[in-house]
């Protein structure tokens, strides 16, 4: 502690250089915290809740349809609790620029399979009694200012109705409030319509659905049940592909981009560059102070003590700046999270960040520390 004045003085010997180096480290760790926060947030968003749900889609493509009758056969498999299904209606509100996340489903089963949607029995009853009814997630209702009782005209470029036109209309019978985790998911802000009504009213592809969601008793049985489900349609024109919800979502995200890979690549490149920058700063700082370090040795400081002082200086620089960067990233994550969806700065990210900062400090501080340790007093004082 008594050496703090020497370390502090060394750190601020060239204020501008120290501040600029610190800023570089702050920005790097802000980026690290932000990217890892988004990455971890997505992983946490997937959570463990989807492991007891299996998604069954057509093997050929996730947007191809399958016979709805498959559901009864799937229900007979041991370990299957409840099955719901959904079909992509798509569509838009008023203008094609306002796409709607509209799905046709069996709402009573949907409410069981997805308790996170918080669909009430009254809302289920309202859907049953109103065939062209629609159940809307709170975020979507807020977006367009819809309320129960409104009739919503929905256009589509795909689904022609039996009247031969593409104009549909649905009555809002309920607005559900999903859990915060589901608020930003497509299901949580969806526009749910009755499958039976829609299937009868559409002109083609009847009695077929795009996806089954199977709730199972035991998540550990997921691989076995998935295989059994897919076996039902093996060698038929409607072969299926079943996987856990988590696996399906991860796979979808990977199709979009491997966030983990991108985050790690960017952070890796930034840290690598930062290593050279910090090492250069420390080397330069020690080089400029060679006569001063020689004076300390003359006064009786051992080489070991001086090298430790240099290392602590490097640690203080890196740790303080990294901590500041991580604090700023926590703030940035809140802003980004409100736009992009789930993002959170987990303690593991903070700990990893600080460990990286320690590693950075040691790697960049070690060469100048060793140089300071080996300093020959006579040569250094003579300017050799």
């Amino acid at each position: 502690m008594k050496y703090l004045m020497l370390i502090w003085a060394g750190l601020w010997r060239k204020k501008t250089r120290t501040i600029l180096t610190m800023l570089s480290i702050v920005v790097a760790f802000l980026l690290f915290g932000l990217l890892q926060g988004i990455n971890q947030g997505i992983k946490a968003g997937l959570g463990d809740t989807g492991n007891n749900r299996l998604w069954t889609t057509a093997r050929m493509s996730a947007v191809s349809s399958m016979p709805a009758s498959l559901m009864d056969r799937m229900q007979s498999i041991k370990g299957v609790r409840t099955i719901t299904h959904l079909s992509f209606f798509g569509g838009y509100f008023q203008d094609a620029k306002n796409p709607l996340p509209a799905f046709a489903t069996n709402v009573d089963k949907l409410a069981i399979v997805y308790p996170e949607l918080n669909i009430t029995p009254a809302q289920i009853a309202a859907m049953k009694s109103t065939r062209p009814g629609a159940l809307i997630g709170r975020p979507l209702a807020k977006k367009y200012g819809w309320k129960v009782g409104d009739k919503i005209p929905v256009g589509t470029t795909i689904w022609t109705n039996i009247d031969g036109n593409n104009n549909w209309a649905f009555d809002v019978v309920g607005i559900f409030d999903p859990t915060p985790q589901f608020e930003k998911s497509p299901l949580g802000s969806a526009f749910w319509i009755n499958y039976d009504y829609w299937d009868e009213a559409r002109k083609f592809d009847n009695h077929r659905v795009h996806q089954f969601i199977v709730q199972i008793e035991d998540p550990k049985q997921a691989p076995v049940i998935s295989a059994q489900i897919d076996k039902l349609s093996e060698n038929s024109p409607d072969e299926t592909r079943t996987q856990t919800e988590n696996a399906a979502l991860t796979s979808q995200l990977k199709q979009l981009a491997d966030i983990n890979f991108i985050a790690n690549s960017i952070v890796g490149a930034v840290m690598f560059t930062l290593l050279f920058l910090t090492a250069n700063t420390m080397m330069q700082s020690v080089r400029e102070r060679i006569p001063e370090l020689a004076v300390l040795k003359t006064l009786g400081f051992t080489g070991g003590t001086i090298s430790v002082l240099v290392l602590i200086e490097s640690l203080m620089l890196c740790l303080f700046a990294a901590a500041l960067g991580l604090v700023l990233s926590a703030g940035a994550i809140k802003i980004v999270g409100s736009v992009l969806g789930p993002a959170t700065l987990l303690p593991i990210v903070v700990i990893t960040g600080l460990l990286i900062a320690v590693g950075l400090a040691i790697i960049s501080g070690l060469p100048p520390a060793l140089r300071a340790q080996r300093l020959n007093i006579v040569d250094a004082l003579a300017g050799r």
Partner: protein, 231 residues
Amino acid sequence: MSTLVSLNNVVKRYQRGKQSVEVLHGVNLSIEQGEFLSLMGPSGSGKTTLLNLIAGLDQPTEGEVNVAGERIDKLSGGKLAKWRARHIGFVFQFYNLLPVLTAARNVEVPLLLTNLSGAQRKQNVRAVLELVGLADRATHKPSELSGGQQQRVSIARALVADPTLLVCDEPTGDLDRENAEEILKLLQTLNREQGKTIIMVTHDPLAADHASRTLHVDKGRLVDSPVRSAA
């Protein structure tokens, strides 16, 4: 008086590329406790090398160096550093103060190697700054002090841990005559009133006159027999 420093057949060679250069050729020297010795000689004569060996900043190639009862030529780097902290106060020609620290902080640096508390360190620093007449400049940084004042701070730093031996390498070499005279009088006072043993390297005969004994170094040898003069 007892012998504080004794050098026996000290040889110092430096390796310059492939060439070995002998700077000191079998020097024998004895310095008594309480002496104020000046070492004079032309540039490159080996006087600073001799001073560095006595101060434990360098090791001889051959021979023995005994200072304050210790064979310092036998001490390893770490032990030698600790020995320096206990026994040597060093005054440089160009002061060599740490530019980012105040005068008081500069003086405090050698005390960091002791077990003194923060309050005791501050007390000692205040006392030694008063001794060199710079108590009112304690919070000034070296850049805010004149050359003479900086050298006084340097002397205060050398004295603060109460070393056995004060080693001065051309302490007036960077000062004007007036400031040089003040520094030399200060050293003389420290020698006479506090009994400090001082070894001073200088080019300046006027500076050497303040010492109690002057030795001449030429081409790596002590050329004159020690002559005591009235200081």
